[in-house]
């Protein structure tokens, strides 16, 4: 199917309404566009990003990754943090992108319990969106990165909440500027995570549900100990927070920590280089879309994701370039 023409003015109107007033319907429709993984949506995405880039109300979001096993209380915690950020920073816009697992059987998904995030629907500086993992490994949805490219220009702070299965949540390491791992003191999680190698992912750790005082204290010291073993080189840089969404304990400290990460965004060098992030997700996309042969082509013929991205203007253009080049390459190898 040939890509349909892009309705420039419609996309630009959506971007303007989204950027100016965070108009809910417009943000949602734009996200739909960035979730559409077909090649036909690419030109519209490029138009949207260009319009957003020019828009004076453009923001530059910091991505806060929140990962941890199901039941650790991630959603409730994110809700509490978002509430506090919105309260403390009257000009900030905050989004939550929550990823939930899809059924292997039907492809359908039950999407995040939005009501764990208890922010009034009248609060227009807040936006919540769920995504289905579509059975992708890595803890995010195949479209998460694309959607984040959009959200980056619309918000000041974006919480990205992963599926939370533990093993393979490495994607969030590349997507987020700062990653918090949420654990519970009662789960014996610290041992599990050590085994699973998940300890390599977070920048900081949150011991949530710390209302069980005794257990929380024990877990805190056990965790401090195991961090020293798991991350000998940087364990001292990692903070361990103790929080309880029931008593409110520790939430102020944690939300100030998050706020400081967001405020630091202005300082150059505080964030991972954009190109690393783009290249990582570009290579992930290449494998998903074009398989191992496509990935090899990207490596050998185009010099890898980083080089390609540096050469062409932007992510969408790089996708276009790989696609065109690889299709031509396939045709050539077949006819020769």
């Amino acid at each position: 199917m040939a890509p349909p023409g892009v309705d420039h003015s419609h996309v630009e109107t959506l971007v303007a309404r989204a950027a100016l007033e965070l108009h809910r319907g417009s943000v949602a429709e734009l996200i739909n566009l960035f979730e559409d993984q077909r090649a036909s949506a690419r030109p519209s995405r490029a138009v949207a990003l260009a319009a957003l880039g020019r828009h004076p109300a453009r923001r530059r979001a910091v991505f806060i990754g929140v990962t941890g096993a199901p039941g650790a209380g991630k959603s409730t915690l994110v809700g509490e943090l978002a509430t506090r950020l919105l309260g403390a920073q009257p000009s900030w816009r905050v989004a939550v992108l929550a990823v939930d697992p899809s059924s292997h059987l039907s492809g359908g998904a039950l999407l995040g319990d939005r009501t764990r995030v208890r922010i009034s629907s009248d609060e227009r500086r807040f936006f919540f969106r769920s995504q289905a993992s579509q059975t992708a490994l890595g803890g995010l949805s195949p479209a998460s990165y694309d959607v984040c490219r959009l959200l980056e220009g619309l918000f000041d702070c974006v919480f990205v909440e992963t599926v939370g299965v533990g093993q393979s949540e490495i994607d969030i390491r590349f997507l987020a500027d700062t990653v918090y791992l949420v654990m519970t003191p009662l789960g014996g999680d610290e041992i599990q995570f050590l085994k699973a190698g998940v300890m390599e992912i977070p920048d900081h750790v949150v011991l949530n549900k710390s209302d069980a005082k005794q257990a929380a204290r024990r877990a805190y010291y056990a965790l401090k100990g195991s961090l020293g073993l798991a991350r000998p080189e940087d364990a001292d840089k990692m903070s361990v927070f103790r929080t309880s969404c029931v008593s409110g304990e520790g939430l102020a400290e944690l939300s100030e920590h998050v706020a400081s990460r967001v405020a630091m965004a202005g300082d150059e060098g505080a964030q991972p280089p954009k190109l690393d992030r783009e290249a990582y997700f570009f290579e992930r996309w290449a494998v998903r879309e074009w398989g191992q042969r496509g990935a090899r082509y990207l490596d050998r013929e185009l010099g890898g994701g980083r080089q390609l991205l540096a050469r062409v203007s932007g992510y969408d253009a790089a996708q276009q370039a790989l696609e065109a080049g690889f299709v031509a390459h396939l045709t050539a190898t077949r006819t020769s």
């Binding site: 809910r24 319907g25 943000v27 949602a28 429709e29 996200i31 739909n32 979730e35 559409d36 993984q37 077909r38 036909s40 949506a41 899809s102 059924s103 059987l105 039907s106 492809g107 359908g108 998904a109 039950l110 999407l111 995040g112 319990d113 939005r114 009501t115 764990r116 629907s121 009248d122 936006f127 919540f128 969106r129 769920s130 289905a132």
Partner: protein, 672 residues
Amino acid sequence: MAERHELVNEAGEITRDRPWIFRTYAGHTSARASNALYRKNLAQGQTGLSIAFDLPTQCGYDSDDPIALPEVGKVGVPINSLDDLHVLFAEIPLSQMNTSMTINGTSMWLLALYIALARERGESEAALMGTTQNDIIKEYLARGTYIFPPEHSLRIIAEMYEYCLERVPNWNASNVCSYHLQEAGATPAQELAFALSTAIGILDSIKARGHFDQAQFERAVGRVSFFVNSGIRFVEEMCKMRAFVALWEEITRERYQVREAKYRRFRYGVQVNSLGLTENQPENNAWRILIEALGVTLSRDARCRALQLPAWNEALSLPRPWDQQWSLRLQQILAYETDLLEYPDLFEGSPVVASKVEALMTEARAEIEKIDGMGGVRVAIESGYMKTALVRSMTERLTRISRGELTVVGMNRWQEGLASPLVSAADGGLFQVDQGGAQEALSALQETRAERDPARAKQALEALKAAARGGENMLPASIECALARVTTGEWAGALREVFGEYRPVTGIDGQRLGLEGERVAKLRARVQRYTDERGRRPRMVVGKPGLDGHSNGAEMIAVSARHVGFDVVYSGIRLRPEEIVASAVEEGADVIGASVLSGSHLALAEQLMTLLAAEGASERIQVVFGGIIPQADIPALEAIGVKQVFTPKDYELMDIMERIMSLLDAGGVSPG
């Protein structure tokens, strides 16, 4: 010497048993209208009152709260303050009345109002008789009128036992309900185990508080009563009752060392099953109700203390007074015309019954132990274990009906029949809610607020909060609130401030429908085609707008939609229409499925459509409705833009999914 088939009294004379208490669950529109109804029912030979409160009263909102307005006076009587209670009980002597109140989240408040009423009327507080339902566990699982988190709710229950034991000794502070568990899909063993675990949870928390010595504690055990369901498999149900009696004896004796036999007795009332009542051929429900009544009356050793029956048309609408009278007549015929009450227990010594009872007890004991092992009923609620188990049972039940493994006459077999003359009356055999009824409650509320002493009311509320924070019994402070004309919304609001509001686990995570085969495959293919054409899966927001807590239908729709490949957002009950619309818009949903069983579908549909229009999303997002919706209301719903309406006769989940998919495929044009 009397024969073994005869009943003899203490004087050795042949006698018959006194019948159980006949109750009719009633109340609607306003305190005045409900008072008139109660007095009429009492004159008809009814021997106790069973008060139905409207949803705002049950959930702790004043009638003029925006979330309350569509529900005022719909499923019960609105009570905003002590002034309303004066009207509700006008000319009804409290000391002679056994009053059962179906009230849970605000149970302490209604008891406080009742005590305050007795004080103002100069009647004795100690003479009050009756029950506050006050079983919060089943509210989290099945009925939905909880307010506070489990910890604080259990404290409220314990404090009511502590207050009542000496001062209102004939009051049942709570009534453990297995009724609603069966309505939510519980098997007999689950019904036994979950209800008994609830009772254990209450008694354990009373015990742990340490306010009672052993003698007082035993009396408190004796005050625990139960409210049980009775389904269509009436032999098994009769055995379930015997199992309840035996297990309760075991628990009170072994776990709590209750020495006096009378405090170990399993006291229970019954409402028979509504879940199995059908919208198709509704006249058949009359027979179902009769058979279900037999299950809880036939066996003398396990006979209910009180019985209330639903009406034949409950799957169509709320019952009319005549429908309730017809059900009352059933009880009267059973008790007075038949010879049922002339015999000792009929099943004593039956090996079949004994073996069935033993099997149920074994299964229930294992489940009780499992919940004990988790840390008790509070943990089993907070972790979602019990809710998930019930949703699974309900999913299995519907799967079996769909496959034809479970026969429901008139629904999945013998669907063809002659038209029923019962629904051809001018009112269609349905109850017509008086739409102007809310006005009376609103004016009374304004009057109360205008005439009270604001300083006293404020002080009473402060004292309530202080008691809540300080760990004192909150009932005395609540009684002072009642006397000071504090309103229902203010009482609950004050405690919400202290305790917070609870949202339990929805229980639908990880549920699977047992339906596969060609139909499901075709639907999945359709969903895939839709996905390929639009670059994203169809998305559905399943919502329960307003205060109605009956979530079975919504849960089954959410599970089914995912089963065929939709991405589904379902966030449980009690959402404001604004929240449902916001989530549909933000999530980029294609369709909202709203479920309403309280009769407020028209008002709520209007609110939803207005809000969608304000977001500019009326065209992009389709709206379908499900619930107890009279056929006569469907044109009005369609006129305001609702695209499909599903009622209890649409029990085939895949039918519903096909209709929703057709709607989406047609781009929102209703396919006829």
